[in-house]
Symmetry: C2
Subunit: 506 residues, 2 copies
């Protein structure tokens, strides 16, 4: 049925919705919540039907901007609208729920249908939950990775192409931004695609976005990497494994990382990366990895699947017993990064970034051990070359390379939380702090978050400030204070010192 | 924030949506897909935020009819809108996904949040999927049943209150409508609440709705039962375990029946039923029960949970090797019911309805065996008393008690499918037929469905009509023909006869 499109600037936040007049819906034999296929000259897309008696005429269709981001039509254009036929991929999902492994062919059908927005969010939530409960088999992980790569644009860069990725779970992890600066300063090519936060107050893409745009087109990505040797872009940019981003849209609200392996490997493969250091933060709360045996098992799975795509992966198990550096939340962490380049205060952050850089130097060269690599990384960091490279990348990606701490805006609403006793800090409950930061508005509200004044091993007196909460408005500050539970264990003895790199699985 | 409500007659099909101007959303610190609480004088409800630059002004809010069915405000009324605070129930769902059993207290919190539309569909889909994969424990089944009962209106009727329910899975199951007529004609009280179809072409509520309204208010339910001894209403009527209906809204598109036990027991308990015959259709395809050991296990669980609520449950395992009677789909089945009362053609249907009625007679009385009960049921059926009662109930519920087959409209689009060989029908693939009927528009399109000409044991010649597909429009007829796969196994020998009642678990 031909209908005239109206585009009143409606946004659903990613749901593909159209509004039909009740009479039109009846003619098409569809009801609210059912699906229609809307076809423009170039694209067709499956949309959820809403209906109205009044705001849309029988010969019209109201199209959400979320739909038109793909459809790309103009107000008043004519589109063809029809009811959606039966979907096989829905059946495959149901089979997976009932315990059947997905074949590569079925996976490809699911991924194709996801890319065409044919599957409902409910069906996808059910698929993701089935992976949460009965994790992806090796064959399924391979299948999803391959389907994500095959349906993606691909990059080809020159030189030794390396990358680093963290599976997440340590709040305040600014390592990637430092590591890209160090590694690119050393002459390697590191076209880093990063994720936005899923279960943390900020992801690398959220952090770097404070300095420069992270959503670049293919040309800008090529130019930045060619000129600086590195980049820090959002993995959802352009068409980098676009299926992955659609899965993440479902995983995010479900607080799931069930598709971690395909997601990470596909995003790296399409950038042409060959040597990957994978960071696996291990800690008692918030970290995805609670003990070494789980870490080793997951590492072996990554290494195995990576190998099938011609990639060399090493996995570093790192200390996640407290937030990294002194901050959580995009803007606060951006400030922390500038601080670290200038005064080296965040020792744990520098230790981690140079250790992982060192492993990459070892992986690509024959001349280095990981320890020698680390020494080289420390030298590059201390010499100021890393900061210089960091600012070069900011400039190439379109940011202000002369940015200072004062340029970065943080939340206006603040509240300081003080110590309830004196002594040394022995433990920090990451999960409580993360929950507080998220209630304060992270990662959506860039200026929200937590600034730590003290970390494990520090001495503190009763009534002395422990940390400060930032929020962009009073409602979210109240939410944060409601969510906060005591997160600091303070004892009279000084705790033992710990290092950042715990083990490397190769 | 006070906003002026606009009600342009928008329907989403059950999603609670409001549209805010972008500026208003920013002031409230919410983004599309996030939630706000909209408060009228009497009610407050959590809604999904959509935004628009144009169709809504900054001081206005567009409210979907789905929301206003609960809010009940008028166009131009002022509502109070605020961002939604952090939800604990989301955390409980995540814990369940990770393997933790839900406590009664957590279940009650989830049910409360579901009733207040606070939880997202994604979160609920994930919860339901976790029950699909790791089924409800006894304690969880009890917890959900109790929470559903405690948050429901309750009925109190006089006399021996009995009920019948099928767990579903045999297409064309018209048993309940016959059984209520027989049992009420015998003087028992049977306030039957029925479901709409979840995985079948029609549910009892869908079928009976062809004869009379099934969505009654409390007064009409009381009046009907008082006057006739029975009723056949939709379980979602009034406020009968309303949480159950919200779960069903998610289970339905996921093709799940994970919450079957709480759903059925709660719906029966709030009607005051004490003696329940539970039908468990068993068959090779479509039926939920594939073998006797699964049936016995499920039956024992029902009996156990029912006992904790003071209910006596017996479970009948019945033959589901082919559709019951000669029809699938609401209107076609309604015609079939009228036919069965007048000419007794559907022998399997009569056999089943009288067997289950007989068990109920045995359960409430000391004088009957199940066999004697069945004989009594057959007598009531053959005497015409059951049909008389059936028409009394139709009248009381507001239908036309003089309805004839000619009054019932079926789909205009029809197509006959013929036999590909000659012989006796040995097997019918229910699942394929159900898929076809659903593709044809069942259960939403009342006139859609399948009419069978032949059943197991019948002789057929090559080219003779096997069945007829009905659809309300050409698109869905095409979908049905696309979905159909050969569903009849025809052999030269005559197959053995089978009976309907296979086993009773008490």
């Amino acid at each position: 049925m031909k209908l005239k499109a109206r585009l009143p600037g409606l946004t659903s936040g990613g749901k593909m919705i159209v509004i039909l007049n009740n009479k039109t819906a009846k003619k098409l034999a569809v009801k609210p919540l059912e699906r229609v296929i809307v076809k423009s000259k170039k694209e067709d897309i499956t949309c959820i039907v809403n209906t109205s008696e009044k705001i849309v005429k029988p010969r019209e269709i109201i199209i959400y901007d979320d739909v038109n981001d793909i459809l790309k039509i103009k107000n008043g254009d004519i589109v063809d609208v029809r009811a959606r036929p039966f979907l096989n991929s829905k059946k495959f999902i149901r089979e997976r729920i009932r315990g059947k492994e997905l074949t590569n062919k079925k996976i490809r059908q699911i991924v194709d249908d996801v890319l065409e927005h044919k599957l409902s969010d409910l069906a996808l939530a059910s698929l993701i939950s089935s992976f949460d409960i009965r994790p992806l088999s090796d064959s399924e992980a391979y299948g999803f990775t391959k389907a994500m790569i095959d349906t993606s644009e691909k990059f080809t860069f020159r030189g030794k192409i390396v990358d680093k990725h963290s599976i997440g779970g340590i709040p305040g992890d600014k390592t990637s931004i430092l590591l890209v600066s160090i590694v690119a300063a050393a002459g390697l090519t590191i076209p880093k695609s990063s994720s936005r936060a899923i279960t943390d107050p900020a992801g690398t893409a959220d952090r770097f976005e404070i300095f420069a745009p992270v959503q670049l087109d293919a040309r800008a990505i090529r130019r930045t990497v060619k000129k600086t040797g590195g980049c820090i872009i959002w993995g959802g940019s352009f068409k980098l494994a676009p299926a992955d981003d659609l899965f993440i849209q479902i995983e995010h609200p479900l607080d799931s990382d069930a598709m971690m392996i395909p997601s990470i490997i596909a995003k790296k493969k399409v950038m042409g990366s060959k040597y990957i250091i994978l960071d696996m933060p291990m800690g008692p709360t918030q970290a995805k990895i609670k003990d070494m045996s789980v870490a080793s098992k997951l590492a072996r799975k990554f290494i195995k699947i990576g190998k099938r795509f011609g990639m060399k992966i090493e996995c570093a198990v790192t200390n996640a017993s407290q937030p990294l550096g002194y901050s959580m939340g995009p803007a606060l962490e951006a400030r922390d990064i500038l601080n670290t380049f200038s005064n080296s205060k965040s020792k744990d952050l520098i230790d981690k970034a140079t250790s992982l850089s060192g492993i990459l130097f070892k992986m690509v060269g024959k001349d280095y051990s990981a320890e020698e690599g680390k020494a080289r990384a420390v030298k590059i960091f201390n010499s100021g070359l890393a900061e210089k490279k960091f600012r070069e990348i900011i400039k190439e990606q379109g940011g202000n390379e002369k940015v200072t701490i004062g340029d970065i805006r943080v939340g206006k609403e603040t509240r300081i939380v003080k110590a309830k006793k004196s002594g040394y800090i022995h433990n920090i409950h990451n999960k409580n702090l993360v929950r507080t930061a998220i209630a304060a508005g992270c990662p959506g509200d860039k200026g929200a978050g937590i600034e730590l004044f003290k970390k494990i091993g520090d001495k503190i007196s009763h009534g002395e400030p422990l940390f400060k909460i930032y929020a962009e408005n009073k409602i979210k500050m109240k939410n944060a204070l409601d969510a906060y539970e005591d997160s600091f264990i303070i004892k009279s003895r000084r705790p033992k010192k710990t290092k950042m790199l715990l083990k490397v699985v190769v």
